[in-house]
């Protein structure tokens, strides 16, 4: 036996070179974040980009426009509950909604792979037409490219969208002062200084209250419905899993829910859709931006039984699984009941639930109280969520 008694141990693993794009750079977690912070923001820095929101809010001729873009590379192209077409429309519509903007116009860029069946393209385009009609948006410009067989995955779609921020009662207000940024909480500093973002509120946003910069201690966190359906629907097809009751993607336009909140005069502090990286990643971004602690209660977080079961089998955590028709909304604690009652009346958000609250310390942290009463930190996703061995 080789020195098991003396245990002269070290770990034979050197640091890995970081010189290529890996899949996790597109996973929505920390590597995506690093890519944005280290490559894109330095190159393109400007006031609108500095908002670091789902879309940019820009002033044009006295109006406040929201502008956003998103690319869709989902495999399989057609999945339970939707396809890449309605995903491409709803994804961009939802990014506009997260700015508090009514969606109006979309563009669509198609990258098609040689050999794609025309019938598949027709199915996808029909879904886009239907989704656009349902969301009351027009596809007003577009582009098509075809690449060699093997250079694409059937269809890639990029959509960009323009929306308008209207004068709802909840919107015309000052950005909230919360000058605790960087204030020490007594907790040891976290080792991710280079990742941290100090939010910069651009002057053009002074009168738009919706955004991470408005989140403050005392806010309640509401999610608009149960989590993880889209990611599990996709995985179930990829892995050939079958469930007693099939899981359909939650892919949907969430603007009706946002519009209802705005109409009701709810004081919305922040909206975020829960796409790649799921609830955990979104909340980490906000906790980090605002140097606050977001406390979740596991027992309050809505997850469908079949989704939970699939996550257990696959070794995944529903907090990190992607959604395509769910968002988180931050509101003052006093307005929780009002916001929930508004949301529950809208179809797309009838499963809304309060899941946690914002506290001052420890900063830059998301904490979850488990069902059995223990606490854990919910970190940003590192790389892709990988299935465990056993």
């Amino acid at each position: 036996m080789a020195d098991v008694k003396t245990f002269n141990l070290s770990c034979p693993v050197p640091r890995v070179a970081d010189d290529r794009i890996v899949l996790a750079h597109g996973g929505g977690g920390r590597l995506t974040h690093q890519l944005i912070e280290k490559i894109f923001i330095p190159a393109f820095a400007n006031d609108a980009l500095e908002q670091r929101h789902d879309g940019a809010v820009i002033p044009v001729a006295g109006a406040r426009l929201a502008f956003t873009t998103d690319s869709f590379v989902v495999r399989p192209l057609i999945f339970p509950g939707g396809n890449i077409g309605d995903l491409a429309v709803n994804g961009t519509v939802n990014d506009l909604a997260m700015c508090g903007a009514r969606p109006f116009y979309l563009s669509a860029g198609f990258i098609l792979e040689e050999g794609l069946e025309m019938e598949t393209l027709r199915t996808v385009v029909t879904s886009m037409k239907d989704a656009a009609a349902k969301a009351n948006v027009k596809l007003v410009t577009g582009d098509t490219k075809v690449v060699d067989k093997g250079k694409g995955d059937g269809i890639f779609i990029n959509t960009s969208g323009i929306g308008v921020i209207e004068g709802f009662p909840g919107l015309a207000k000052e950005a909230r002062p919360f000058d605790k940024l960087g204030a020490g909480s007594g907790a040891p500093p976290l080792p991710r200084e280079e990742d941290r973002v100090v939010p910069h509120v651009s002057p053009i946003l002074r009168d738009v209250g919706i955004g991470p910069w408005s989140v403050q201690p005392g806010d309640a966190v509401i999610v608009s419905g149960d989590l993880g359906r889209h990611g599990i629907a996709i995985l179930s097809v990829r892995e050939g899993l079958e469930f007693e009751s099939p899981i359909l993607s939650d892919c949907a336009n969430v603007w009706p829910a946002v519009e209802a909140l705005l109409h009701a005069g709810i004081d919305i502090h922040c909206l975020r859709d829960l796409t790649r990286g799921g609830l955990a990643t979104t909340l980490n971004e906000i906790a980090s931006d605002r140097n606050v602690c977001i406390k979740l209660e596991e027992a309050l977080i809505p997850v469908n039984e079949t989704v939970q079961g699939a996550c257990e089998i696959l070794g995944l955590d529903p907090l990190y699984v992607a959604n395509e028709g769910r968002f988180a909304v931050f509101v003052p604690a006093a307005q929780v009941e009002a916001a929930l009652s508004v949301l529950k009346k809208v179809e797309v958000s009838q499963g809304a639930a309060r899941v946690g609250k914002v506290e001052e310390t420890p900063g830059h942290t998301v904490v979850l109280q488990s069902r059995i009463g223990g606490n854990r930190v919910v970190d940003m996703l590192s790389g892709e969520q990988l299935p465990r061995i056993c």
């Binding site: 098991v4 141990l9 640091r15 059995i372 223990g374």
Partner: protein, 374 residues
């Protein structure tokens, strides 16, 4: 939900925690063997419920963590062959070898695929007859039956373009290695429930007797773990050292005989290198007899340099329970899940990754270099 929420009931958890608090009179260090148990403990914040007398240390039962670096290098070398499809369970992909991980190889064009079962890899071999399909057969006794079955079926169906890169390890020899070490701090064990589902628990009786240590076969849900801890604490406080079974809904004393038969038919016991523990005799499996034609080691001779050791990572101490992850100076500073220095930072079952993700880093203690308490 059936078999899920029942085992996460907050009232029952509090009752068990209260029973542990009532029973305990002095400090005890208990090791959970399996990475799946570590995962549950940290994910559910279970240690918050335990009295301060109880210290849990996280054992070597994470297949990703104990697979030697040479094997990763071999896997990468096979994956990079132009005629190869390399299949693996998901969390092996991020483990860095001497210079790269399977993920890196994939980014450079290698055909690396995540599968959920070795039989899926066999299927791939059948549908890609012009390719060499290799499967990374890692794990403890739990994954051995399925891996054995893949070789057995390949043999029966005469599939020749399929092979297994085997790195199978066994729990009882690792427990003995830990217990026979001079600096062993562990006073009681939670044995790995799923390993015992396959193997039963008869082989633990001699260990409990020889080292006077309580061993409780334990499941993976929060209530399982609390009950297992309670049973170990009762034994320790009453100066007993027995083998008990908490996980009765899944584990029988004799285990799963048909699974054991398949394992024995395909594999034979062999010495194995354990990352962090060194070579332990008779601590793993290798393909036997006529199944050796499926040994990827033989089929793809490897000529790489032996792996270089780096001094920064203390994963060996961590796998033995001598140190907690946050006691490593590199923890969360030089060593993170994106840039792991050691395998325990890679798998979600690895103690370091579990600590990193689920927040034990909040409790970083000042005396980073002090020896662990006995």
């Amino acid at each position: 939900m059936k078999f899920l929420s029942e085992y996460r009931d907050p009232k029952l958890a509090e009752q068990l925690a209260a029973a542990i608090r009532k029973k305990v009179t002095r400090p005890w260090t208990i090791m959970e063997i399996c990475g799946g148990q570590t995962h549950t403990i940290v994910k559910s914040g279970l240690e918050d419920l335990l009295p301060r007398e109880i210290t849990l240390v996280h054992g070597p039962g994470c297949p990703v963590c104990v697979t030697p670096i040479e094997l990763i290098d071999k896997a990468v070398a096979i994956a990079k062959r132009p005629d190869a499809i390399f299949c693996s369970f998901g969390d092996m992909l991020r483990v860095p070898g001497s210079s790269k991980s399977l993920f890196d190889a994939k980014a450079e064009g290698a055909d690396v695929r995540i599968v959920y079962s070795p039989l899926d890899a066999l299927k791939l071999a059948k549908s890609n007859p012009d390719k060499q399909v290799a499967f990374f057969a890692v794990g403890f006794e739990t994954t051995a039956p399925a891996n054995a079955m893949a070789a057995w079926q390949a043999d029966r169906e005469g599939v020749e373009n399929f092979s297994l890169l085997v790195s199978h390890v066994l729990v009882p020899p690792a427990m003995e290695a830990l217990l026979s070490s001079d600096n062993c701090v562990v006073k009681g064990f939670l044995a790995a429930g799923h390993v015992c589902t396959v193997m039963g628990f008869e082989e633990y009786f001699p260990i409990a007797e020889k080292y006077k240590v309580p061993i409780v076969v334990t499941g993976f849900e929060p209530l399982d773990l609390l009950e297992g801890i309670h049973m170990v604490v009762c034994q320790l406080e009453e100066a007993r050292h027995e083998v008990e079974n908490q996980y009765v809904r899944a584990v029988r004393r004799e285990g799963n005989r048909p699974a054991q038969k398949t394992i024995t038919e395909v594999f034979e016991i062999s010495p194995r290198q354990w990352r962090g523990l060194g070579e332990i005799p008779a601590s793993g499996f290798q393909l036997r007899g006529r199944f050796q034609k499926y040994d990827a080691n033989r089929r793809f001779p490897y000529s790489g340099e032996p792996a270089q050791e780096s001094p920064d990572c203390i994963s060996g101490m961590i796998l033995q329970g001598l140190k907690k992850p946050h006691e490593c100076p590199a923890f969360a500073v030089k060593c993170t899940p994106e840039n792991p220095l050691g395998a325990p930072m890679v798998s979600s079952e690895g103690a370091c990754a579990a600590y990193y993700h689920y927040g034990r880093r909040q409790n970083v203690q000042p005396e980073l270099s002090s020896p662990a308490s006995r």
